[in-house]
């Protein structure tokens, strides 16, 4: 049975002047998959992701997200994706409830729908006591879980997470990944970048970018076999070392 492709990338390239940040990458991501997008700092992960979410135009090549062309139908793409950036990007000076209301509102959810979603979300994350406090006063780990749930408010087909667990403790990271699994089980596709190799092990498939190119793409298990190492860390180091 052919699985539905939620992301199709074909020879996607982004140049900044003479510098090629993303160099003819091609890959597909299937429905319900947790797709790990790995690479060293400066390998071009964020640039590639920005093209996929329609806030950066490709120099050449094409990509379709949820069957829409990211270049020519960027606004259609945006209706079908969720996004959580590296920088925590909710409003610190609004309360949890107000942030949910705002983001729900600009995605065009009805008032009733926003109310339901708010109640569910607060319950699920057990934020009842702080629902009316300013987001700025929350610990980072809570904020990130909140940001993830908010990026899912409009029930996107795919959600892009850019280093979602940067700077939080292992327990919170574990909880965060439980949320990711729960969401993937509902059929949402997860596209995630990370620097933590243990997190890479949680992914269904992993791609590793080196200097703008995708150097490896497979399940963590197969990658470890073909690179003859027992951890993703080993795979990553071998690939990165080849560069030097």
């Amino acid at each position: 049975m052919e699985k539905e492709k939620v992301v199709e990338v074909n020879e996607l390239t982004k140049k900044f002047g003479d510098f090629t940040a993303v160099d003819h990458i091609s890959f597909d991501v299937y429905k319900g998959e947790i797709f790990g997008f790995l690479g060293a700092n400066g390998a071009g992960k964020t640039t590639a992701m920005k093209m996929l979410i329609g806030i950066s135009n490709p120099t050449s090549g094409e990509a379709r997200v949820s069957h829409f062309d990211v270049h020519h139908q960027a606004e259609e793409v945006k209706k079908n994706i969720g996004y959580m950036s590296q920088k925590f990007s909710m409003y610190d000076d609004l309360t949890i409830r107000e942030n949910i209301k705002f983001f729900g509102g600009i995605y065009g959810l009805s008032r009733k729908h926003i109310k339901e979603k708010t109640a569910n979300l607060i319950e699920e994350l057990q934020l009842q006591e702080v629902a009316d406090s300013l987001v700025g006063s929350l610990p980072l780990g809570w904020k990130q879980k909140l940001a993830f749930m908010v990026s899912l408010l409009h029930e996107p087909r795919i959600v892009f997470l850019d280093e979602p667990t940067g700077g939080v403790d292992p327990i919170t990271r574990r909880q965060f990944w439980e949320l990711i699994y729960a969401e993937a089980n509902k059929g949402t596709t997860i596209f995630v970048t990370t620097h933590y190799m243990d997190e890479a092990e949680y992914c269904d498939r992993v791609s590793i970018m080196v200097e703008g190119k995708i150097e490896a793409l497979d399940t963590p298990k197969k990658l470890k076999q073909s690179f003859k190492t027992d951890s993703m860390n080993g795979v990553f180091l071998k690939l990165a070392r080849n560069v030097e």
Binding site: G54, A74, Y83, K87, S89, L94, F102, G105
Partner: protein
């Protein structure tokens, strides 16, 4: 429409929650109006005058007492030599020196005319000019008086055949400087606050990263921009209202014309300024950059607005530049409407130009706002 409502709600909450905001809205206009309106004056008084009396006669003393009696002059000590007086001028202790020559009284009685030397500190040319006029008035007064005493009756007949012009000052009968300045400074306030607040606002979202989050939503450019600018438009109107109340209650500035007309014009004017703020924030990445650029425009706009210096006395090319200056139009209009009572027909030209600016700047702002790079 619903999307815009959500953005407006969010902005208003953020503005109200910002502790610095309420003082800015209410205290800043009050302070600025009170301080600037009293300080920014071209009225020349307290002219520090000194003299060298080489004559030491009753006539020379009478001349000096004339200056002492004038409310514009404050007479300080007499200098013994011209050199002492020069030094005092250099140090900036005095503004004007009156040099009464020797045999002043004797020559005046004998020849029926005489001359005085006057030295003025003319670093500020305009001020020195005014000082000279005041000084001549005092001397002329003195002339009239002594001619009655000293000069013969037949000359007196001649003197009386002067033609006198009697000025009546329209629209500001008492030549009250504040009446002239307060509306202008109110314009500055409304402009500065709305330009800076709107310019900073979107750049701030860029800095903290929330703008990127907004850009991945299917929100439309115009929805976002209207939602962003509307709260600041309202804020501008509130500041205008606070300022008008202060102008009326504290400075007693008359509002001769239709106050609705002022609001109508401000409504369009604010669109121009907010569009500009937005345009600036589209081309900057940090609040500092935006602030510098906004300041650059503010300084040029203020100095070329006709607020402090009349546009008519600018060189031709500068006058042409002022045509691009939105503040110029607002200063003109608010003075015309508040002080002269001009109607819509009188400000049609300014109104037209502002509407044109509003359309152009906001089109530019929407066009230059990029959700995608």
């Amino acid at each position: 429409m619903k999307t815009i409502k959500y953005i407006v709600q969010k902005e208003i909450k953020q503005i109200m929650r910002n502790r610095g905001m309420l003082p800015i809205i209410f205290v800043m206009p009050l302070l600025q109006l009170i301080i600037l309106s009293n300080a920014a004056t071209f009225e020349v008084n307290n002219i520090r005058i000194s003299y060298i009396d080489n004559d030491q006669t009753s006539i020379s003393r009478e001349l000096i007492s004339k200056f002492e009696a004038s409310e514009y002059f404050s007479v300080s000590e007499m200098y013994r030599s011209k050199k002492d007086a020069d030094d005092a001028l250099k140090k900036g202790e005095i503004d004007v020196v009156l040099d009464i020559p020797r045999y002043f009284e004797r020559d005046l009685v004998r020849n029926k005319h005489n001359s005085l030397a006057v030295y003025l500190n003319a670093i500020d040319g305009a001020k020195a000019g005014v000082e000279n006029v005041y000084l001549n008035q005092v001397v002329r007064d003195f002339n009239r008086k002594i001619s009655l005493e000293i000069i013969q009756p037949e000359d007196k007949m001649l003197k009386q055949m002067n033609i006198l012009s009697i000025p009546s000052f329209w629209y500001n009968e008492t030549l009250n400087y504040k009446t002239f300045m307060v509306p202008g400074i109110l314009v500055l306030l409304v402009t500065m606050l709305s330009l800076f607040l709107s310019g900073m606002n979107i750049v701030r979202e860029k800095e903290i990263g929330t703008l990127e989050q907004i850009n991945v939503t299917p929100i439309k450019k115009h929805q976002f921009i209207i939602g962003k600018l509307f709260p600041f438009w309202v804020l501008g109107m509130i500041i205008l209202t606070v300022g008008l109340i202060i102008a009326r209650l504290i400075f007693n500035v008359p509002i001769v014309g239709n106050i609705g007309l002022i609001y109508l014009f401000t409504a369009v004017y604010l669109l121009v300024i907010l569009g500009m703020g937005l345009f600036i924030s589209n081309y900057t990445d940090t609040q500092q950059q935006a602030m510098f650029i906004a300041w650059f425009f503010m300084v040029v706009f203020i100095l070329m607005s006709g607020l402090f210096t009349p546009i008519e006395s600018m060189p031709d090319w500068a006058q042409k530049i002022t045509l691009l200056n939105p503040i110029r139009y607002f200063v003109e209009v608010i003075r015309m409407v508040m002080l002269k009572g001009s109607g819509l027909g009188d400000i049609l030209w300014q109104f037209g130009v502002m509407s044109f600016f509003a359309v152009v700047l906001n089109a530019l702002a929407v066009w230059s706002y990029r959700k995608t790079n």
